[in-house]
């Protein structure tokens, strides 16, 4: 098969929404390269999901089914998809850059003798060569990568880098395939997934969010940012390091491992904007960032920026917000 193969992700019949962003990336890449895109959904029962994919502009949809793909394991996913890729020999394999994909996609590329370009944010063609764009230094710099060997290009696509609402509808034929998996080759034994605590704070419903990051330095200083949140009538949120340190509970974490939010106002205090945080909040309507480092990646997504010391600025802002509200 020449063309693009998009690997989708589902758990117990429920899509990971990044599957559709990756399908959109696949369609876009297919148009750019003058090739066709196909998609694969893998699991123990994929019928309804494959039928759903068949409603998009794809050359074909592959339902890769095996009972050993029921509960995800790296070994089963690697075995099944490596088999499919060796059989189809696509030009490009695209994965969504999910936590699960991080667990198995590097194995698939390595087994095929290739390097996976992970967390890709975009692509373009330069003198006939496919250039994949990604971020370095946690978002501080961009980089262009090209494949320097012949054969399949493997890439995973960053969350929110492509828009699922650009997906072209169409009709595709569904093909069911059974990979040759054996139970003895699967070494990981997964237990059922669980949540640590019922989530008490629903940041996704908040209209206004004030979020705090590493720049706050000490647990005792969190109160200052909490005071700003209170003055604005906003929910208090945080980047991962703050929650890892136990300064705020995990349920207040925004980012790829926390909640994905898109409030009217997101005010980031002392957050540099590592990519894991940005994917969780860059869809916010208005973003304000206060940071001492003018080159912090948070300013790339901010509508308004203040470069300065948060310990000077935040008290001044609290005072002015209160004045504006009372006046």
């Amino acid at each position: 098969m020449s063309g693009i193969l998009v690997v989708t992700e589902q758990t117990a019949g429920v899509w990971n929404r990044m599957s559709f962003e990756t399908l959109a990336a696949g369609q876009q890449l297919a148009r750019t390269l003058g090739k066709s895109a196909s998609a694969v959904v893998f699991g123990s029962e994929t019928g309804p999901l494959a039928a759903e994919l068949a409603g998009y502009q794809l050359e074909r949809v592959i339902a890769l089914e095996h009972e050993l793909l029921g509960s995800y394991t790296a070994d089963a996913a690697t075995g099944a998809l490596s088999w499919l890729i060796a059989k189809l020999e696509p030009d490009v394999v695209l994965f969504p850059h999910t936590y699960r994909v991080r667990d198995f996609a590097p194995c698939i590329a390595a087994r095929a003798g290739h390097a996976l370009v992970s967390d890709v944010t975009g692509f373009h063609v330069e003198s006939g060569v496919l250039v994949l764009e990604r971020l370095l230094f946690q978002g501080k710099l961009n980089a262009d990568y090209t494949s320097s060997v012949l054969g399949t290009v493997f890439a995973s696509v960053q969350a929110s880098a492509f828009r699922a609402d650009t997906l072209e509808p169409g009709t595709a034929a569904v093909e069911s395939l059974t990979p040759p998996l054996v139970a003895a080759s699967i070494r990981q034994q997964p237990e059922p997934p669980f949540r640590e605590s019922a989530r008490a704070v629903d940041l996704t419903a908040a209209e206004l969010i004030v979020a705090v990051g590493r720049g706050i330095h000490e647990e005792g200083n969190i109160a200052l940012v909490a005071e700003l949140a209170e003055a604005l009538g906003a929910e208090l949120a945080a980047s991962r390091p703050i929650c890892d340190s136990g300064w705020l509970p995990m349920e207040r974490q925004v980012g790829s491992s926390g909640q994905l939010v898109s409030p009217k106002l997101y005010l980031a205090v002392g957050i540099s904007g590592a990519i894991q945080h940005l994917v969780g909040m860059k869809g916010s309507r208005t973003i304000v960032a206060i940071n001492k480092d003018a080159s912090a990646p948070i300013f790339e997504v901010a509508d308004y920026g203040i470069v300065g010391d948060l310990f000077d600025f935040v008290p001044a802002l609290i005072e002015q917000v209160r004045k504006a509200k009372n006046g």
Binding site: H114, L141, A143, L265, T286, I287, D293, G305, D312, K323
Partner: protein, 256 residues
Amino acid sequence: MKILVAIKQVPAHDSRLFIEPTGEWIEENDLGYEVNEPDAYALECALQLKEQHGGEVIVMCAGPARVSSTIREALAKGADRALHIEEDDLRHWDNLSVAQLLAKAAQTEQPDLVLTGLQSDDLGFGQTGVIMAELMGLPHATLAMSVEVVDGRLRVKCELEGGWFQYVSMPLPALVTIQSGILRLRYATLMGIKRAKTKEVRKITPAELGAAGEPGITLRRIYAPHSLKQTQMLAGSVQEQAAQLVEKLKHEVRVI
């Protein structure tokens, strides 16, 4: 239990980065370096496993002479010995060939468990450990929040997306990539720093390991990110900045 920890040295967290005139890489001359943060947690996890089960912790680091400081720090924290893979020009090795290099070096030690951070703070591929597992024929788990050894098997708590977790168990030997922030990191004691000076650092070259950096993917150029938005920077004194922001919040964003 023999635990091997693969660590990487990366530019310090708050470094100002400048792009070389050729656009190929960053200016390295005035940079400060430190251990990649997730790798520091991988080392801590290994040291705690050794405290529980006994055995040996070996750190492995690839890079030029400057990585010695990162190796010494790991030894001072309690690693028993180290493996330094000497290579001055790692930037021309891609993620697959670096993992091949590390896997070959790891195989000279035949460890029971290999730990590393889930990703590097510089390149951020998040693949090295997983590729090493594939090349070494080891079962693996990624994004580990805790690692325990139960009846000779490994039981790992893995982070899934959206606040979900899952335990995964597997036989040893195995490889696990460690999530950042999962433990309290120890500091090196004065005694530890003193002892580190006498600990063994085995040096080995890619040629000795039969590894070569033939990249399958090439970094063509690096550049400053294009801003996704027209960011309006608010200037003036702190009071003026705060007043401007309140104006915007009131009349443009309409949240006050």
